[in-house]
Every structure is written in C-alpha cells, then in structure tokens.
Symmetry: C2
C-alpha cells in the first residue's frame, strides 16, 4: 500500500470542475490498485484573493510544502486583468508557488492524437505522429528578475538573469529525457542577441559530451516559432528558458487540436506540481463544457512522479479509450454533448 | 521627375541575389514612370566583417544616413553562429543600423495569397483572407538594454527597458494604420508578469480615446502565439514590443506559405529601411533558387514610403501576376524550376 498526500488547488474559472474529474480518476486508481491518496483542498489564485486578500495564503504554501504532490486546476479572473495598476494579481500566487517550491522545470508533452487530427488548424499530414517534450525553465529569467518603474512612472524595466547552475539542473533533466526517447535535444534561444542565451548555449554545449547518444542542436526562438508549425515532427525534446518556453509551448499546443488535452508537470528538488496548460476560461465556468482531459493527463504525470507506471499508463489508456469512443466535450465534438462530468466518469470507470 | 538615392545593402547568403531582382524591378519602375533612382551599394553583415573587420563600417552608416531609403537583402553567416564567444557578429551590424537610424517601427504585413493557400501548413479554410499588419518596436526592449556577465562568467543578464515615449511613437503609428484598415488594434504583451508590459498597456490605453474609431484589445503573448494559428483572421493591426514582435511575426509568416513572400519596412523619424523578413539562407546561396518576391515587395513598401502609390501598386500587381501565372521559385512549385532571376525578370517586365 502506497500512501500519499496530494494538495488540490482548484483555483478559478473552470479549475474546480476539471480538478473534480481528475480527483475522481485518481480515486478510481487508488481503489483499483489499493493505494491511499489523501486529498487536501486549498485556495490559490483569484479565489484566494477574494477569501483572504492574498493569492497564495500561508496555509496553502504550508500544505504544498508538506505534500507529496500538488494538483492545480487553473487560476485567473478577468476582474484582475486589464488593470495594469492592480497591486494583487492571481498570477502572483502561481509564480510565488513555483518559486517557493523550487519548481524549476516545467515539462509539457505535445502529442498529435490520431483521433483528433481533424481538429488541429494544421494539415493532418504535417502533424501526424508529432511527439514533443518541452522542458521550460520555470523559476528564473525575466519572470523573476528585478522589475520596476522610475519615480515618475514613465519608464519601466524587467531584468532577465540566468546562472550557470540554473541552466545545468534543467539541462541535465532534458538530456536524460532525450536519452529515453528519440535522442534529440533542441535548445531554443536568441544567442545572436541575448547574453543570457549565450550562457545557455555555452552551458548546454559543455555538458553535451556527457550524453553522447543525444544529438544536440540549436534554434533561434523566432525560427523555432516557425519550425514548430512548419514541421513539428523534427522535434524530440526542446529545452528553453522561461519566457520563450511560455510562448513556444502554448503555440505548440495547437498541434494537439485542443488546449483541453495538454497536461504539464513542474518539478524541482522537492515537491512537484501538475496542471493542465489551459487557463481558467471564465466564460465556460459552471457550464459543464470544460474538457477535463488535460487535468486527468496531468494526474497521470503525477502518478509517473510517484513511480506508479502501470497506474499512469492505465489512466492514459482510459483517455485513449474515451477519444476512441468519442466521449469528449463539445469543443471536440459538438454533436455528442458529453459534459465535463460525463467525460470524467467515463474515464474513471475505464481505469 | 522624382530623384532619390537608395542605399543597397545586399548582405550575405542569398541577400545579393534577391537584392538584384528588387533593384531590377525598381529600375523598371523608374524607367516606366520617369523617376531617377540612384543605387549606392554598401557592405553590411558578415561580408562587411570579412572585408573590413566590422559588421557596420562607417562608410555604410554614413551612406545610409544621407540616403532617401535603404534596401537590405539579408545578413548572417553560419561561421559566426554557434560560437557564443564570438566578439563580432553580423547581427550587430543590423542592430546597430536600426539604432543609428532610429528605425523604431518595424512593419510587417502578413497576407494569405489565394494562389498559395495549399502551401501553408495551416488548413486553407482557417487562413483564407488573412490580412494582418504587425507593428514591432525595433530599437528598445531587451535587444538594446544593458547586458553582460559576472566576472567569473557564470552568470548573465539582459535588461529590458521601455519608456513611455518609446511606446507612444509607435503606438500612434499603429493606431493610425488601424484607422485606414479594419479599425482593430491588438496589443500583445505579458502584462500579468512584466512591468514593461504594464507600461505598454497603460500607455496604449491612455491614447486610445484619440482614436475613437479603433477597437483596442489585449492579448498575452502566449495566448497570441496560439490565436495567430487558431484564427488569424481575427487580427487587423498587432502592436508589440521588440522581442515578442520578433517571435510573433516570424511565427505568423507560416500563414503566407513561404517566408520568401514577406516584406517589411522599418521606419523612424528620418530614413527608412526595407528588407525581406527571411534570413540569409546560406545553403541556397548561388543556386538561383531563392525567392526574390519578399525583397521585391519590400521595394514596393519603399515606393509607398516615397508616396509613389501608383508605382507601388504596380509592383504588387506584377507580383500577383507572377503568382497567377505560376512564375515562382521551386519552394512554391517544384515542377516549374524558374530561377530567382527569371522570377525577377518576369516581374520587372510586368510592371
Ligand atoms: C499565468 C501565467 C503567469 C503563466 C506563465 O506565464 O507562466 C501561464 O501562462 C503558464 O504558462 O503557466
Ligand atoms: C538577425 C536578428 C538580430 C533579427 C532580430 O532578431 O531582430 C532578425 O531575426 C529579424 O527579425 O530581423
């Protein structure tokens, strides 16, 4: 019997709905395989601001620090957007949590599902068979550098910094992943302009000889943004810094045909956090139309993290089964009208 | 009789070949309409490093300062890439020129040509009719902020800064362009994370009331990178900062089906520079397969800049005619085998 404490941060918008289904699937797994998963619900994001005045309450951070894993829905509320002067923002909760837990590597698999090729804006023959794993650095770069304004507020700055150690720890992870996959690693940077990018290139070049089976190449981020659409199958593992990873991984999501399918894991030295890559989609809140699959696949990555390989594969097979049977939410098939809960139930029942 | 001095910077790789064709077309225009265009060829990029040791020789900068416009081919050579420690790089020439001439607005039209829909990796029905104008800030942001290393070289930084004035001057241009188009302006930023982005949002919001006919909206850059592929027709004018503009505009180029079709204009208070958005494509150098259309359309933007509307339209019509007749380079039609020069000749003959 394996016993684990999982903190659940449902967050805002559709977050609570998709989290419910992922928890349902995890419960199905624990009862089938005889594990004990304890779920501890905590506040983060706009809901936490509304309840406590801060997007990441101490109680939440504490619970996460002592958890075996964290499952996150989504955060963000339009009432905090479009107000550039707002002092407290839901995003600060997520950024703060990443930093506090040391979640320096965000891992995003991008897969073109055969059943869903027609949903992609890209031509099927260009994307069929795509299988990319993106490693995005998550606790450094321009996100966390010093930022501010001049006194008269007419001038602003954001500093981007990277140290060799910050690059090394995620680069080793990316190389190791490439060793277990198709042995190709592409570093995405802007080394023709940025000093930080040159440090990334140098550092990655330095350790490449430790991974002789992995072919390393480099792409400037502008070119990468093109290549991901023109010929996604050329990529195996992509490694990149925080800001470029944010852009490139969301862009790459179009390959899958729906944001509602894409999971992610954020890992570091201690705890790990699992979340769909989609946002809180406030317009869909409470309508039962949100696709729970991205969160359910994030739960599968959580099981991977616990080294529960059979259990994780079992979840992924159940998701495939739902796709095969067309048990999907309306954005993937407007004629069937399965709800978030029905899709979650079907998958939980199939594990 | 209009008399103008145009500095031509052929640059590296395929740059000289595509510039020749654009100059050929400009000569055809000048003889048909009775203008006098004087062409002054200068070195910039890797060819300038090889010849003079510096990517932007004083003579080149001087000539550009006194020209009515600058036409650029492309710069870059693989022998200067992948060496993060190289002290002199071709790109410094281009960046230096942008800064020295004060070319703060880079304008990139993205058009889906009906004749070429099949060449795009995107499904035709998603992109047909796309007509986007991207305004990328070109002399500020992280490109030009202070950058450097710690003494032991294990730590690097790039500073991103923007002032209200830097944002205002390009924002006014973007609003004015939207007024002559479909009256929509989208600011792409990362205001949920970056202080500079919040300054962009504030500043653009402040002047929006001066353009009551323009609908202003905002997209986070990660979302924009998705939306440009999912539904490009939603965009009219896009305004963004330097780094995001670099990524987003290259990404958007996939809509056109070939990088070889996309022109750009970089403008400021004085001189203006016109260049294709593609790079120097060294593998294709001297093979006669480079598509000259992007540079020819950049020459059309140069004519716009001289307020030669009829002449500019005449070039664009001739390009359309070449596309209609299938007189295109191999990347657009592998069976016809027209060379760079044949395509240029056909277009020059048609103006
Ligand atoms: C919400 C936002 C701060 C966040 C980011 O930019 O990292 C999101 O876009 C993501 O990718 O997880
Ligand atoms: C060559 C490089 C410095 C340049 C840039 O990043 O601005 C290029 O990519 C461009 O977009 O013109």
């Amino acid at each position: 019997i394996l016993s684990k404490r999982i903190v659940v941060l449902p967050g805002d918008g559709i977050g609570p709905e998709v989290c419910s289904e992922a928890v349902r699937v995890l419960r199905a797994i624990s009862s089938r395989f005889g594990h004990e998963f304890e779920f501890d619900y905590q506040l983060m994001g706009a809901c936490a601001i509304d309840a406590t005045g801060t997007p990441l309450p101490d109680a939440t951070l504490d619970a996460c620090r002592h958890a075996d894993a964290v499952l996150l829905g989504a955060i963000g509320d339009p009432k905090y957007d479009n107000d550039p002067t707002a002092k407290v923002r839901p995003e600060q909760g997520l950024l703060g949590l990443r930093k506090a837990l040391g979640l320096y590597a965000n891992i995003r698999p991008i897969t073109a599902y055969d059943q869903l090729l027609e949903h992609s804006p890209l031509k099927a023959e260009r994307i069929q068979g795509t299988d990319i794993l993106i490693f995005r650095e998550l606790t450094g770069g321009i996100y966390f550098g010093e930022k501010g304004r001049s006194e008269d507020r007419t001038w602003a700055y954001d500093n981007c910094t990277y140290s060799r150690d910050e690059i090394l720890r995620i680069a080793h992870r990316a190389f190791k992943a490439a060793e277990t996959r198709r042995h190709k690693l592409t570093l995405v940077d802007k080394a023709n302009v940025l000093e930080t990018s040159r440090l990334w290139r140098e550092t990655v070049q330095d350790i490449a000889p430790e991974y002789p089976s992995v072919a390393l190449d480099y792409l400037f981020v502008d070119n990468a943004a093109m290549q991901i659409i023109l010929n996604p199958r050329q990529f195996d593992v992509i490694l990149t810094e925080n800001m470029f990873g944010d852009i490139i991984s969301d862009e790459a999501s179009v390959i899958a045909g729906s944001l509602g399918l894409l999971p992610s894991a954020s890992v570091g030295d201690g705890a790990a956090l699992f979340e769909p890559i989609h946002g809180s989609y406030p317009q869909a809140k409470g309508k039962g139309i949100a696709n729970p699959i991205a969160t359910i696949l994030s739960a599968a990555m959580l099981l991977d993290h616990f080294h529960l390989q059979e259990e994780a594969d079992c979840v992924r097979d159940a998701v495939q089964h739902a796709l095969d049977q067309g048990v999907v939410t309306p954005e993937l098939n407007p004629t069937t009208l399965y709800t978030t809960e029905q899709v979650g139930n079907f998958i939980a029942y199939s594990v």
